[in-house]
């Protein structure tokens, strides 16, 4: 058989007509549009408006006081010592809670990866903190656990000589962090557990036959496999925790002073208690920019490491 010219060059090539192609692509796009448009309108527009507000000085209690001030709101934000304090608080809260939650989460996942009686029940118990309404959980910790007189924590520590200790006033940041860790550990645990259970058993068996003992298997095989799950957990967890408003609001209202306020709470204070729209908007923009930086990591992880569809074994 002689070589045939590639069909692309052939005059008979049956190309889909332009209008067919356009119709096909419409059919493909149409189902997308309602969800997409809705999301754009409800989420992007407000953010653009926030940008706009951030360059104005506007107090809601003094209508008619709106005027353009350029970047002075931003300058105020960065020179505001309270902003710096709350930013620092946010970082401490986020980094501390996420890392500790992940550490505990890995431990819990390792335990749950073994078969034992009632494993399903234990798993159910362990995920419950995550399901509790955040304000409910904050309330819970504030009253039944940390309350100086009637709280359970003090009851437990009484034999050790500590009683009537006001945890929340003395360690505001710490108390909030404990509550956050309690709430977010299940999330980390679930992610890591999914990672443990997705490890193909035959690789572990091969290692055992090769003479590796369990600690070595964990170090050489399991941990590298878990790496991307842990990374994902840390990054996603950070994004959620950074924005956590409920815990601060319920437990300490940011106090004493602003020692336990984080950025979302501080911005809320400025906007709804201080009615300083322009400044609050500027702070919001700053927080967004910071979140975008973390989010880029998250997105890269989700898109490459997990490729959104099937993972290789």
């Amino acid at each position: 058989m002689t070589a045939i010219a590639p069909p692309v060059a052939s005059a008979h090539r049956r190309v889909r007509t332009r209008s067919e192609q356009r119709r096909q692509s419409w059919v493909r796009r149409a189902p997308l549009l309602p969800a997409l448009l809705f999301t754009i309108i409800v989420t992007q527009l407000p953010f653009l408006v926030t940008l706009y507000y951030s360059v104005e000085s506007w107090s809601l209690v003094r209508p008619g006081s709106r005027h353009f001030v350029g970047f002075s709101n931003y300058v105020q934000v960065f020179t505001d010592s309270q902003f710096r304090t709350t930013a620092l608080n946010t970082i401490i809260m986020t980094v501390g809670s996420v890392l500790i939650a992940m550490l505990i989460g890995v431990g819990l996942a390792l335990v749950l990866d073994h078969k034992f009686i009632g494993r399903g029940v234990v798993r159910t118990l362990l995920i419950t903190p995550f399901l509790i309404m955040p304000v409910g959980a904050a309330l819970l910790w504030k009253t039944t656990m940390f309350d100086p007189t009637f709280g359970f924590v003090n009851f437990i520590l009484r034999p050790f000589g500590i009683g009537h200790f006001d945890w929340i006033s003395s360690f505001p940041l710490g108390s909030v962090m404990i509550e956050m860790i309690w709430q977010w550990t299940p999330f980390m645990m679930l992610l890591v557990l999914a990672g443990l259970q997705s490890q193909p058993r035959d690789i572990l068996e091969a290692a055992a036959t090769d003479g590796a003992r369990p600690p070595a298997i964990f170090r050489e095989l399991t941990l590298p496999h878990l790496r991307r799950y842990i990374e994902l957990g840390i990054v996603l967890g950070a994004i959620y925790v950074v924005n956590d408003f409920d815990a601060v609001y319920m437990m300490t209202h940011g106090g004493p002073g602003i020692s336990s306020a984080n950025l979302p709470f501080y911005i809320y204070q400025r906007a709804f208690l201080g009615f300083q729209v322009g400044q609050a908007a500027a702070m919001g923009v700053v927080v967004v920019v910071a979140t975008i930086i973390i989010a880029t990591f998250a997105l890269r992880l989700i898109f490459t490491s997990f490729s959104g569809t099937e993972e290789a074994a």
Partner: protein, 305 residues
């Protein structure tokens, strides 16, 4: 003992007992292995149960407290033994909690239905043969979820105020829908991707038009995923506080807001508080227990199954 026999008894492995394990020895070795496995499982069991109870304890304590009277709850050392009573629950229900429950339920259910209606076709379109645009759209959806609400709340509040939509449950519905759409789209997409392509081809060869392929072939396969997505959207909508507290006041307030108002207005009544908190959190905890297996998928945007 002669030198020879002493040497024989010292040589490793060459005992006078046969080096071949007899039936008795084999049985004892087998028992050791099984015992080790069982100990492992028992140890893990003990550790697991201990940790589970420790973590669950605050919740347990809350529920226990809710069945006490105020006097029993307000003691220096917690009362462990007591006669349970529903008095605090009835106090909660008589304190006007029902409108809050109604608002929460309404906002949750309606927003979830809308989310499913919008997300399912969207996710389906995104699960077909991937185009460059697919990735961009998915990227966009996730990014909206990652941006802090706090940056958008001011315009939303002002817009709602100007439109006289403050303290309106429908405003909440709109916001919750936007909040849950990204998760729903990603989750549903991951479920659609699990439908084998061959199934769709078989349906096409069998002469099924698109509509019937969707209803008779795809939806039944994807139904559990739909249910799981719905449950997870319900969880997030019900628990949501920040938007609710800022957008609503009295008419459209939801359960989280109820809890807050509860504290400040009534002072600290532990037992009643515990009852209120139990009532507020119970539906979602149950939903979460049911949808446990799919929780990971929802939280990781479908990246992890």
């Amino acid at each position: 003992m002669t030198t020879a026999s002493r040497r024989a008894s010292l040589r490793p492995g060459k005992k006078s007992i046969a080096t071949e394990p007899g039936a008795a020895q084999r049985a004892s070795r087998r028992r050791t292995v099984r015992r080790k496995r069982r100990t492992n499982s028992v140890t893990m069991g003990i550790v697991g149960w201990f940790l589970g109870i420790v973590f669950f304890f605050p919740v347990l304590w809350m529920v226990i407290t809710s069945f006490k009277t105020e006097a029993q709850a307000y003691t220096n050392s917690p009362t462990i033994v007591f006669r349970p009573t529903l008095s605090e629950y009835s106090a909660v229900f008589h304190s006007g909690v029902w409108p809050y429950v109604a608002n929460s339920a309404f906002a949750t259910v309606v927003s979830t239905l809308i989310v499913l209606a919008l997300a399912t076709p969207c996710a389906f379109a995104l699960s077909l043969r991937p185009v460059r645009k697919t990735r961009d759209v998915l990227f966009f959806f996730i990014s909206t979820k990652m941006l802090p609400v706090v940056a958008a709340i001011i315009p939303i509040y002002i817009a709602a105020r100007d439109l006289h939509m403050l303290d309106n449950v429908f405003t909440l519905i709109v916001l919750y829908t936007a909040m849950n759409l990204p998760i729903a789209v990603w989750m549903m997409r991951s479920f659609f991707l699990e439908v084998p392509g061959e199934l769709l081809e078989a349906a096409e060869m069998d002469g099924a038009p698109l509509r019937r392929t969707v209803t008779e072939v795809i939806l039944p396969v994807v139904a559990p995923g739909l249910a799981a997505t719905a449950l997870i959207c319900c969880i997030f909508a019900w628990n949501e506080f920040f938007l609710a507290v800022n957008i609503t006041a009295t008419k459209a307030a939801t359960m989280p807001v109820f809890l807050v108002g509860f504290i400040s207005s009534e002072g600290l009544y532990f037992a009643q508080l515990a009852a209120a908190a139990t009532v507020a959190t119970l539906p979602v905890v149950l939903a979460g227990w049911i949808a446990q297996r799919q929780l990971v998928r929802g939280l990781s945007f479908g990246a992890i199954k």
